[in-house]
Point group: C2
Chain length 293, copies 2
């Protein structure tokens, strides 16, 4: 792997996730703390119009728009704002899959779920992110195309911190996110300067599917995340454990046959898709050593 020369840090891919938005705005005013000797770091705001309105997105979710279909689409009058934006971002930091693309992109997110701090990586084959010491969530389903903003760079990851309400910035999470970026930039500096990172084994969580809310016949959700599941992200959920409580007070149990590890439990942004949590398995991965060519 070659040394990295161009790194981007994006805040506000979702316009109501405030840690990354205020961090990126701060770095745009004063980029000093991003400076390293062996590479350049460019902070930017992902979705300026959504940030202005303090909403997740204006027309469609920007972070699902970096597919070949959208990136290669031709301009149309009625296309969503985020499709135009994705093509622009792809021109600036990509093009996706090309030699001119940025070497790495960090994308900063918050969740209302109690997920602590975790890295969201497309798959275990993304070698460099797998070496950063942090809990890891592998988001790509088998055969799925990458669709996230950081997929326009040659490598990248999303940083997910929670719980934090949408539209709110908490000083504690802001500091954590700032510290992790500082640590990750230091890691790239060491890599660029020839540090050898040996092979190792690591447990990581891999998505297997999504759990929908139960609904009334008219499509309205009819239950909430069970109080015993609330705030239990990344902890084991066993067959027959309670997962929902209906508004009338009944319990609904998990009907699967194996233990899973839920994440994004009760995430605000997933209500519109009626998703209550993401189902994950815990796997052991053998990560090869890492050294610059």
């Amino acid at each position: 792997m070659w040394p990295l020369s161009c790194v981007a840090v994006c805040g506000g891919t979702h316009g109501n996730e405030m840690s990354g938005i205020y961090l990126a705005k701060h770095w745009l005013r004063d980029p000093m703390e991003l400076q390293r000797s062996s590479f350049a770091v460019t902070p930017f705001l992902g979705n300026p119009r959504a940030i202005e309105k303090c909403v997740r997105y204006v027309g469609q979710d920007l972070n699902r728009t970096f597919t070949t279909e959208f990136l290669s689409s031709t301009e149309a009058e009625d296309e969503p704002y985020e499709v135009v934006l994705a093509r622009e971002i792809n021109q600036t930091y990509g093009p996706k899959g090309s030699a001119q693309a940025f070497d790495f992109m960090f994308d900063l997110h918050n969740t209302t779920a109690s997920m602590g701090t975790c890295l969201i990586v497309d798959s275990e084959e993304s070698l460099l992110p797998m070496h950063i010491p942090c809990p890891i969530y592998l988001y790509k389903l088998p055969g799925e195309e990458t669709y996230s903003i950081n997929s326009v760079a040659k490598a990248g990851l999303a940083l997910e911190l929670g719980p934090q309400p949408q539209q709110v910035v908490r000083a504690d999470l802001f500091s954590q996110m700032r510290d992790i970026i500082a640590c990750a930039l230091d890691f790239i500096e060491l890599f660029n300067k020839g540090t050898v990172f040996p092979a190792f084994e690591i447990e990581a969580y891999k998505i297997t599917g999504r759990m929908d809310y139960p609904c009334y016949p008219d499509g309205e959700i009819s239950a909430m995340v069970h109080p015993k599941l609330q705030d239990k992200d990344f902890l084991p959920l066993n067959p027959r454990d309670p997962i929902f409580q209906t508004f009338s007070g009944e319990e609904i149990l998990y009907e699967g046959n194996t233990t899973i590890y839920p994440a994004f439990i009760n995430e605000a942004a997933y209500y519109e898709k009626k998703v209550a949590f993401v189902k994950m398995e815990k796997h052991m991965f053998s990560i090869p050593g890492l050294q610059r060519d």
Copy 2:
């Protein structure tokens, strides 16, 4: 005071505060648990269009729209949706200040602040709410006209539960809100049936003003609620205690001369007004006894 015969319970005055919205929707499907023998209870959704979009409001804050100015305005083509709605709600549950108005209205709210459970009452002269056993926050500034949705009824209160992110329903807060409404309806039933509630002394918090976020010259906020103040609603804040942390890392201290009791600390909905918290004083009030005529 006469017995109460008509009571309303409103959820969704703010369309992204989910405990009250899901409770009211549940009661509209199944009103059984609201039934009492001595009075009728009507659940309703405050701002249906904002609920549909899962936003606080569409045109302007409905819960600031129940003033004489708005309620007596004549229809205009370009008026905000909430002004039309306020006149309709005033017709159904008021008119405000009239003999036909509902006897009591409960209005259900959530906050992203760690305020636990509290009752928001216009002033200590609202006798009936002052007798309900719960921490009390008196919101009306001296000389100010009432402007909240429950002011269209002869008496009322807002129930404020937090912390809960906007657009999220947590089972624990949902149950608490349901229990408090059950308890308050039982209280009215006892009052109607002639129970004597003796006079007592109570400490309550009274608003004195608001604390704005510090800003850059361009108007953007330049600091966050200090980690030592975050989640400390209703606890004493003393002169020279830290209240803000700037994005560059400096501390800003409280410059007042007396101890205050902040509330709505880091409430998501107050960023647009650049309000970081509400300043309150703690006072002892002598509440006269209560008995039906």
